[in-house]
């Protein structure tokens, strides 16, 4: 039976972009699927379970699973310019802001 797990995530914002970081241990880069549409991003990652023998487990905290998570996106994101990196099982999705959404610095006369 497939077990859907919501991966833990950090979401933070800089002046230029929004950044999502998700822990996806056990997932190969090729098994990650990211879909972005206006207002929504979804991330799916499949864990390779080919060589698992569940019957012999003395302790089972990891188990069998597929990661899936969605985030609502506000306005002011350039969807086409989104990019992703995957390093040491941490997925980083960078969503650049539109110029209108960037923080403006107002100088005092």
């Amino acid at each position: 039976m497939e077990n859907i797990i919501i991966p833990v995530a950090d979401v933070y914002e800089t002046a230029e972009e929004f950044v999502l970081k998700l822990d996806l241990p056990g997932v190969e880069k090729e098994k990650i699927n990211i879909t972005i549409q206006p207002g929504r991003i979804s991330i799916k990652g499949e864990v390779d379970t080919t060589h698992r023998d569940e019957a012999r487990l003395l302790l089972r905290e990891i188990g069998l699973k597929t990661y899936y998570r969605e985030f609502n996106l506000g306005e002011g994101i350039q969807h086409q310019a989104a990019r992703a990196e995957f390093e040491q099982s941490v997925l980083t999705v960078i969503l650049p802001k539109t110029d209108a959404a960037k923080a403006k610095i107002i100088s005092i006369r």
């Binding site: 919501i6 800089t14 929004f18 056990g26 012999r56 003395l58 302790l59 089972r60 990891i62």
Partner: protein, 156 residues
Amino acid sequence: MSLIRWNPTRELTAWPQGVFGMQREINRLFEDTFRGGMRAEENTGKSFWTPAVDIAEQQNEYVVKMELPGINKEDVKITLESNVLTIRGEKKQEKETREGSYRRAERSYGSFQRSFTLSTTVKSDRIDAFYKDGVLTVTLPKVEEAKPVQIEVKVK
């Protein structure tokens, strides 16, 4: 101050029913308390987390798997001392992450340590460990006398 990891799967499971449901709720309470992700220590300022583990016992070996996403393998230390396997290490927070303004912070950082007592002796010089796809796998071969031996019983 303490941060308890948000457990998203809890919200997906149906509302517990009857005795089994109550059992599940109690288990959840213990999980939250004893292995609930990040916990900031007031005195030391250090944070601790508990990575998830699977332990499989094969006929000839134990296989321990630990989820360690975002860690450098140089920061993990594995020791075996009188049948107690200890895996400890530290996950350092990425620099750029500290600078943004946070909307959500669920991922754990800091030191971790987990120890497991093995019921049979293993060949301490033949232990193998590798780190792939964010999962640490430690293989501990059993010594010969620890393997199960089949004894034939003759029926008279």
